[in-house]
Symmetry: D2
Subunit: 319 residues, 4 copies
């Protein structure tokens, strides 16, 4: 049975580990895996190649996507989509995994409806704005890149009295900015989801400056306000020099973190399994880390056991 | 009301963010927060100081624990513990948070039983071997440090035909070794929880070497077999030179990752809240990321909303 | 004999190792070392404290300057400077090391002329624009931070057809931008020292795009042109979407690299030695790595010996 | 005119940038560049391919060597070397650059004598033990990898009373261990070049422990003493638990630092130029950063100018 994978929309760390796991696991299951290059554009143009282990060797560690991505206007027109279906049919591909965001999932749904292709979406976007899942591939890597940038700024911050403004990605979703501000101890954070009060902010900062604050850090999602403008306002209203950092595409880069690799593996695994089980149009999702409490006696009387799933995976590596 | 925190047992990244959040949140709740230095030893010796915001400024970013830690024989003797209870009572401290592993939670339980101190445990150990919780503070940071080490070795691996053996921490628990091997694509992994077959391993490697394998990576938890010995066996049985890396305390270091900071915050938050609610002896716990699937129509028809808890937290930063 | 150190002007990685080495080496030479906090402002205000080993423990690894820095208008007025001289005289300080850039060295020179204080300048500025020395403290660290940022962008670059514009520090000096562009393989680089031809650049890029170029990277020093404007021009003239990264104060941060630590040590060492030898107003300087060739027979017939200075330093660590 | 490059001996960061620059610069000079894969073994076996720009695209950033390396017994026998000369002659290659250490330069010299091939050696080895040059490719990258490892250990060091032993590479040369110990502030350092006194060391440590020392760091070059043994001795003689880290091949990995990229460029450039000038057997070398002093008036009256060589290089990027 033939099965294909493509990456689509903005690139995100974790796409490559998902592609690698897709190939390895498909081969293990006796399937014929295909790689579609250049996203929807490549699908229309038939850039589809059968994959073996060598095709994905050494990609686990790399950011971005070796399959590349694209945005396609042509895909909106039925006659072009027909071309895509022919390319898939020609190779006997009836199952397709799309790694990307909502836009890509929409395209997948259309293919399922029009051509009866079973489709699985794997959420991957550093914006973390896909409904029904608490994490998308690329988010943990992006957050850690931002963390290192802000930590680096703190090194230098106390030398002078200054405000540091950091503009993150996030046109419509403030997740990256919010989590970065909270876990880096920023003093100011503007995101699209929460209305802000600039007078309140500057009054608060001025009170703290009077009380001895030496520097402050403000994180702003690009969709709310240009970082440049926030820097101007803060400098004018607090009298403290403000300096701007626009992180830009640094946030997309970096070798995938352990969480992003692990999620990539489990998403790919789950997608292949569900397609084999006959599921026809779905998205792999995950729940966040939920924190609660447990009686201490219960904890101390429970024996710790390593997750049997991990043991099973490892047993292939120690035999 | 007075409330104290201490770190105990092996240090782990995430302890400092937990201490910081404890102080900030306690002050916000109108509590009087105390810091106990040097773990159980410091508790016996009365190294207990009231904390203000300044006491924990700048620690969010640092690995290890600024409160330091210790192992105490004296704590096993009732007369010394009596001394500890007096030190707490003297300051009106009736609630205590212990950040550490099982040994530390055991000590906490004793204090609760003997002196009616309400105790909360926050799991922190890079071994990830505490029952009832899927993650402990420090695990994500340790895993990412190991990941960078193994990725660095791969850079150089293909230049020569060689086997690279990496010995990780883990006397009784193979979590670190297992997750590192799986997410780094290692060929061999030995952990205490899974019996291994050395003949099987070397036969498999020899077959792959014959088929063209250029190098291989083996990860071993220190509790299974000395890395040195594994290197000797693999070199002898495969004829490929083997080189050893013992990661040692590198694994404990590093600025806490975003996940470790976030868990630290939520654990501290939850511990303080539950103590205020009258809970008397508990551990904060978290469930792992669980992966599942969701119908694509449902995903696409759902509106994405940012977690209201995050919005609430951010609203203090934009007013 | 009393000797003091201060950091002044923009902060740079390497300042802390220089301060640490100053204290250690002064104590070893039997001198009484003083630390001046807050730069020239602190000197005027008498923020001068005698230092022991503990005062500088743990600072070797940190970016920025624990002595903090400042810019002082008051120092331009003789009556304020008089105050500074009194603060120094009161403590018997007749020798002063200033770690900073030209502005700071000017101030040092004035002190030498007016009050017969022996002054040594240690060049520290990430701009690398101090005459007579090929390297300043902080430059190597800044270059490596920029390198990691650009390498991270490359991870993601090939996924889409795009131009990435990176704005570095450098108002009047293009060293950072130039070295970063050259060692990162950028396609475009604008610096203040070399007139540019925008038509030439866009014509060249367009030719390469036609020939198959997928993405390009442009590095611009902030003093030449706002990165935002360069991005606009390149996007308009090549038709390729352009994305902006302004590195900002990320460039100042980071733990000092080995070169910056080593230079810091040697500069501090040399400054103290020369002051003890009676030198009165000087700057420590270094020559760049000069590359040449040597006959292979000579190389192979020469015995390699480890630098005797390194051996001497190590001998204190193995006895 | 045809010119070839190979990497030989242990791999080192900086080899890839040297290969890239070799190809780019050769093409610019109108030469026909060849890449020899697998070192001397590949030379004997004719693994020699003509290179264009694409062959070396994307390698600037990678550690190790994409040309791979080897050790060859066969090369010691004249009849095999004859085979090598034929492979070169067949392609008209009369000039050869060997990137590696002494062993590789010896082989190069033989080729020059026996077959009149003009040879250039580019020093590359993390041991930094090649005579007549102060730096070899890979040294700065290795030092910074070790620095990060030791800095990471310090994070965690103060939590417990412990000794941390770090074993670095260096069988016959202590450069890596020595520079790492000095720039990381280690308390103990053992290298092959300096006789050590273990009794003296432990007496010194014991005195410091009595005076309050909490932890200590010992760096040992693998050629002096196994780290494991040093840890045993220190633990026994000081009563402080000792923990071992063997850095192993981590030290060879990592993306080349700016210094290693820059040296790689200048070495490659210089090698090609000298070969074109008719030099027949030489090694490219560099002098270390030499520190001295300069009168402050002279510094302040000199106008800073950017190195004309840098300006010339940049001018190709801004036109």
């Amino acid at each position: 049975m033939s099965i294909a994978i493509m990456t689509s929309g903005g690139d995100a760390a974790g796409m490559n580990p998902a592609v690698k796991r897709f190939v390895d696991y498909s081969l293990q299951k006796g399937l014929k895996p295909y790689l579609i290059y250049d996203g929807l554009v490549g699908l229309l143009d038939g850039k589809i190649v059968e994959a073996d282990k060598h095709a994905v060797s050494g990609i686990l560690f790399r950011g971005g996507t070796v399959l590349r991505s694209s945005r396609s206007q042509r895909f909106r027109e039925p006659e072009y989509r027909q071309k895509a279906y022919e390319e898939l049919e020609k190779r006997g591909i009836t199952k397709l995994i799309v790694v990307g965001g909502d836009g890509s999932f929409n395209a997948a749904r259309v293919m399922c409806h029009e051509a009866d292709i079973a489709v699985a979406g794997i959420p991957a976007t550093i914006d973390n704005d896909i409904p029904c899942t608490d994490y998308c591939l690329g988010v943990d890597t992006a957050l850690n890149v931002i963390r290192e940038a802000i930590d680096g700024i703190r090194d230098t911050a106390a030398s002078f009295r200054r405000t540091f403004v950091i503009e993150t990605m996030g046109r419509d979703c403030g997740y990256l900015a919010a989590m970065s501000a909270l876990t880096s101890g920023a003093e100011v954070c503007l995101i699209p989801e929460v209305p802000y009060d600039m007078n309140g902010i500057t009054a608060r900062l001025n009170a703290e400056i009077t009380a001895g604050r030496l520097y402050s850090i403000a994180v702003v999602a690009e969709g709310v306000l240009e970082g440049r403008k926030l820097a101007e306002v803060l400098e004018r209203e607090t009298g403290m020099e403000a300096r701007l950092t626009i992180l830009g595409h640094i946030q997309r880069g970096g070798s995938p973190t352990v969480i992003d690799r692990r999620l990539a593996f489990e998403f790919a695994h789950t997608a292949v399994d569900a397609l084999l089980d006959g599921e026809k149009s779905f998205v792999t999702v995950t729940k966040s880390l939920e924190v609660g409490i447990k009686n201490i006696d219960e904890v101390l009387s429970t024996k710790h056991v390593l997750d049997p799933y991990i043991c099973k995976m490892v047993s292939t590596l120690c035999h």
